[in-house]
Structure formats: C-alpha cells, structure tokens
C-alpha cells in the first residue's frame, strides 16, 4: 500500500493520481473532465469513478497558467462598512458573479499606499479589471500616479475602472462610471435655499476627497447662482462617519455658530448630527433643518425621516462591471454619468424667523 501519490482523503490529488487509478493517461482524464473531446463510455465511467473516489478537483491556478482559467476581477474600497460602499460592492460582486468572474476585494482604510500595492498585486494575478469603488483622494500627484497605474494595467491587458470617482487626465485608459455628485448637491442645496434658509452649515468630508469636493462644489454653486456667497465659517470638514457628524454638530453648536439648516455630506454624517441636535434640545426641522446625501436604507427611519439625495449605488457597481467586461480592446474610453435626485422627506422646514 505504499504509493507515492495520495490515496483518497490524504492531501490534494493531481490529475496523474486520477489517471493512475483509472488506468488511463492524464490527457484522457483532462478530456473527460473538460467534456470537449469524445471519449468512450467505458473510460469515462472509470475516470469519473476515480475522480469521485479521490474527491479530485482540478487546480484552478494550473488551469489558469495553461490558459483556461476562471477570469477574475478585483475591487478596492475604503471601508466596506460604509453603507454606500457596501451597496456598490454588492452591485459589483453580483454582476461579476453573474458574468462568471471571481471577485478579489481589498479595503484600504484610505491608505493610498495600500491601494497601489493591491493594484500591483492584481496586475500580477492578471485580473480582467481593477475597480476602484467610491471616491478617493483627488490631488494632482494622486491623479498622476493613478494615470501611470492605468497605463500599466492597460498594457497588461487589464483595465482600471473608476466607480463613483471622477476621471483622471483626459485620454487615460480608464473606464469611469460616475454619478452626478455635484448636481445632486446643487439640487439639494437649492431645495434648502428655496425654503428660505440663508445660513446653511455644511458638514463635509476630507478636503481632498473627490466625493467631498463634488458635494461642496454643489453647495457653493447653488448659492452663487443665486448671488449669494456662503460664509466660509459655515463649512466644516471631517469624514463620512456618523461620529464625525455628531462631533462636528456639537462643535458648531457649542461655538455658537449661527445657521438655520445643515447639509451633511452623507446620511451617516446626518445621523450623527441629528443626534447631536436632539441632545442639544433642538427640534428638527422646527429649530433647524437637516439634510443628508446617499439615501441609505436607514434614512427613512431617522426621526424626522431624512430628506436626502438618492444615488443609484448598486446600479453603479453593476454597470461598472458590465461596462468593463463588455469592452472591446481597442474601444473608445467609456465615461458614464448616472443621475441622482433629491428625495424630500420630513427634515426640512422654513427657518423659524420666516415662519414667525
């Protein structure tokens, strides 16, 4: 019973083990398993029996090297824990799976270095595409580095996809699936202004984060198009977490900042801000109006239900995958821009002075 190769149950067996046990050659095993070549019923039966007895399954990595691997797709995000990231990730994963691709993930916690390393690893794995999910830093150096990464990926037959992030320099080999970040913020802010508010606090994210910037631009533009110039003291920055919203709102309140409405950069931020307002004894929207951004499922359950802007996050993820996988190598660079819309609920009212 002393054999070189493994018996059932003892370690991974190879195609040669199966061949030996079935009394055929490795090529024959490959053929019956592949199912693309004709094989006699008798051998097929014997081979399959050996396969089952050994619980054999072909090594996917070896198949990949031989040129018949399962295609793989990678996606990178800041932190899967954020509801909007999770929605996009879900869209990506579902669509990739539907199209027969495996999904590799990496969360970076905002560390650009880590992000770059991962992309390089994905290039080594010959991933069909690398999808950057959600906004990111938007400094010139960052864009430039990403441009190089995109080239590098492209020349290896892969492709960089920006999902929910603005394009790089024109001509860079990237596929971008964005939503109208600024437009949504513009409409949202316009809605608040229309109610009569004039001093609107903006609870933003990190100053060099593309999403934060886009939303702030919308806030600014909505004011300027109405001939207003919002007080810079009214723009606070933090990050996109619930805790940031809570902290910023408390700070604004304790500093005695004057405002009648607040625009939070995300629904999570709005949630924290709302709690801070409640704790300060403020009624929303009676004493202060509040809006968010993202329309996460929870937004309806805040009290008052949050007015916010809806972003088709899951669709964004799906589209990113579908677009890049449908791409014909030499094709034009894709750039899709999905629309957003504000969903009005109960967290905005005219300012108190206007009601008196």
């Amino acid at each position: 019973m002393t054999r070189k190769s493994a018996d059932a149950g003892a370690g991974r067996s190879t195609i040669r083990d199966v061949a030996a046990r079935a009394g055929v050659s490795a090529s024959t095993v490959s053929r019956v398993l592949g199912g693309t070549y004709p094989t006699s019923d008798a051998t097929r039966t014997r081979v399959m029996r050996a396969v089952h007895e050994l619980d054999y399954i072909a090594d996917a990595r070896a198949k990949a090297v031989a040129g018949v691997g399962t295609p793989t797709l990678a996606f990178v995000l800041d932190d899967i824990t954020g509801p909007s990231f999770a929605l996009m990730a879900h869209g990506v994963e579902r669509e990739a799976s539907r199209l027969g691709h495996l999904c590799l993930v990496c969360s970076t916690d905002g560390d650009a270095r880590h992000e770059l390393d991962f992309i390089e690893t994905m290039r080594a794995h010959r991933a069909a595409a690398v999808i950057l999910v959600g906004g990111g830093a938007d400094t010139p150096e960052y864009r430039e580095r990403m441009g190089r990464v995109a080239d590098s990926l492209a020349s290896a037959g892969s492709r960089l996809v920006l999902c929910g992030r603005p394009p790089l320099a024109p001509g860079a080999p990237v596929t971008v699936i964005e939503y109208d970040n600024e437009g949504g913020a513009y409409a949202l802010c316009a809605h608040v202004l229309t109610q009569g508010h004039r001093r609107i606090l903006f609870l933003g994210g990190s100053p060099d984060h593309s999403t934060a910037q886009g939303r702030e631009r919308g806030y600014l533009a909505a004011h300027r198009d109405r001939g207003m110039d919002p007080d810079p003291a009214l723009r606070l920055s933090g990050d996109f977490t619930r805790d940031s919203g809570y902290r910023l709102m408390r700070q604004a309140l304790s500093q005695g900042l004057e405002f009648t409405a607040v625009i939070a950069a995300t629904d999570m931020v709005a949630a924290g801000a709302l709690t801070a307002a409640h704790e300060a004894g403020l009624d929303v929207p009676g004493d202060v109006s509040l809006v968010g951004y993202d329309d996460i499922p929870f937004a309806r359950d805040l009290h008052p239900a949050l007015t916010t802007v809806h972003v088709p996050y899951e669709e964004l993820g799906r589209l990113a995958v579908r677009t890049v996988l449908a791409r014909t190598p030499g094709a034009q660079d894709e750039h899709l821009l999905l629309g957003t819309h504000v969903v009005v609920r109960d967290s905005v009212a005219p300012p108190a002075n206007a009601r008196r």
Copy 2:
C-alpha cells in the same frame, strides 16, 4: 524590429522577455527578482532596467503553481449590505490582509446552491480557508451537506470556518467562531421582562435561519425561566431587513395584536418597526417599548436611541482569520464563543398600565 516577444507596452511580457532584453537567462531574472540568491551588481542593474522598461511583473498564478504563491482566503456571506455582515467582512478582510492573504468574496443572497458552488471553486483555487460569514440555514440536510463540504476541504488541506454560525455535527473538521446569540437574546428579553412587560412581540427572521433561531430561543428561555409561556401569536417571522420590520410591525398593529413591547431580531428590523410605530402615532417607549439586536453604529441615532445587544462583529471576523491561519494541521478543532452584552439606551420603559 520584428520580434516574437512583446516590447514595452504591448501585452504582458514573460520572464523570458526580460531575460532576453537583459541578455541573461530566465533563472537569473528569477533570482534577482526573488532577491534570495546572490547576483552581481552589474546583472542586477541590467535586469532591473529591463524589468522597468517592460513594466514586467511575474504572473502570480504561475508562481502559485510553482509553489510560491500568495496564499488566498475566501469568504462567503449572504449580503454584504447588512451592517453586521459588513462589519464581519471588514474584520475578515483586514486581518487577512495583515497576514498577507488575498481575499476572495462571494455573496449568495441566501442561495445554498450558489454557496456550495463557490466553496467548490475555492477548493479548486486551493484557498487556505473558506469562511462562512454570518448565520445560515440550519436544517439537518444542510448540516449534512456542509459536513461533506468540510471533509472535502479538509482533505484538500484547506479548512471550513463558521463565523457567527453554530457548529455542525461534533467531530466535523471545522473551525467555529461564534458569539453568544441565545445568551444575548436571553439577557435582552430578561431586561424587558424586568421592566414589567408581559406581552412581548418578537419580530424574527426566517424560521430555519440559525441566527433567527438562536435569538428566538433566548426570547423563549427568558420567559420560561420565569414560569411564563409566551403567546405563539406574538412571534412573527420575516427576514433581517428594515422593510421586514416595517411590514411586520404594521401588520401586528393593524391586526390589533396586544403587546406592550417588541423585540426585533436585528437593529435593522427595529428601525423599520420604529418607523411603523411612529406612523401609527405611537410613542416609543411611552406607548410601546422596542429593542433591537446587533448594536450597529446607527442604533444610537434612532429616536429614541435603541436599546440593543452588542455583538463584537468585527472582532469575530478578525478572530476567524487569525484562528484558522494559526492552526497547526493535526490540531484540535477550535470552537470559540464570544460574549455579548445588552446596551441600555432609551427605547424601553415600563408598560403604560404599570405606570398608571
């Protein structure tokens, strides 16, 4: 200039292309890239120049076949969109990355067939471990199938990990990292009972879902240990979404079910239930008390802030990875059980009649 192999920028280049360009053999390239063997400065320089010019990076799949690949870890979950799933996923991903492993994901949307297929694919990829994240079906057939999968994985040198899911049959080769699901529900229900409530509505999940079952068992046990037998009409089942909570609560209210408190199987369910209660003009906790389960970040921002049970989800994910990767092949089967605790906030008060 007509050469068989690719020049810079044209498709993926191999180690042989680099070797040719540097005027050395492939092994030498391998050696300077590996950095484990001594090489002369001159050749190293030339090789590295060729590597950069070609933007070469070694094929990770080929390395894997040759036995020096990056280890990979797979995780499977129902739907990354659920906050508790996302937390566990984050823990898994962070720890895997810290330990130098790549992460493959798959979401199943509760489809057992899809789950099984994916696990098989992971076996083919020689994943170091396959982590099932979050609860799942808990029928005898399912357990049996999973037992077979666990054996199959084990004999291939991989390992099945259950993270936030109860063990299979004793002796099955699985690593399980659970939390005290039932204990948490018991404590939570005890807390509500202690306030004087006697008719407590339970908004559960799918009847054969392990998590739903555990929580319901806790609810039941807390009653029985006090000599009570809760009215079966008070136990509703749905799923773990916000919408389910909303729907179930509306239904309970419109049916005229009598209860003074509600235990929602998850915080998401509680959020939906809370909104339904508000819409029905009920004050929480004045008219009805409400508690959740999971302690997701949002729980604090509901109004009233939600009393719930805290589960160390992220730690659960981290531990699952750490435990399985630290495992010595012949070792005892691990089974960790993490504690939970109820966090009291503002959503529970004594029943109205007790206050009168």
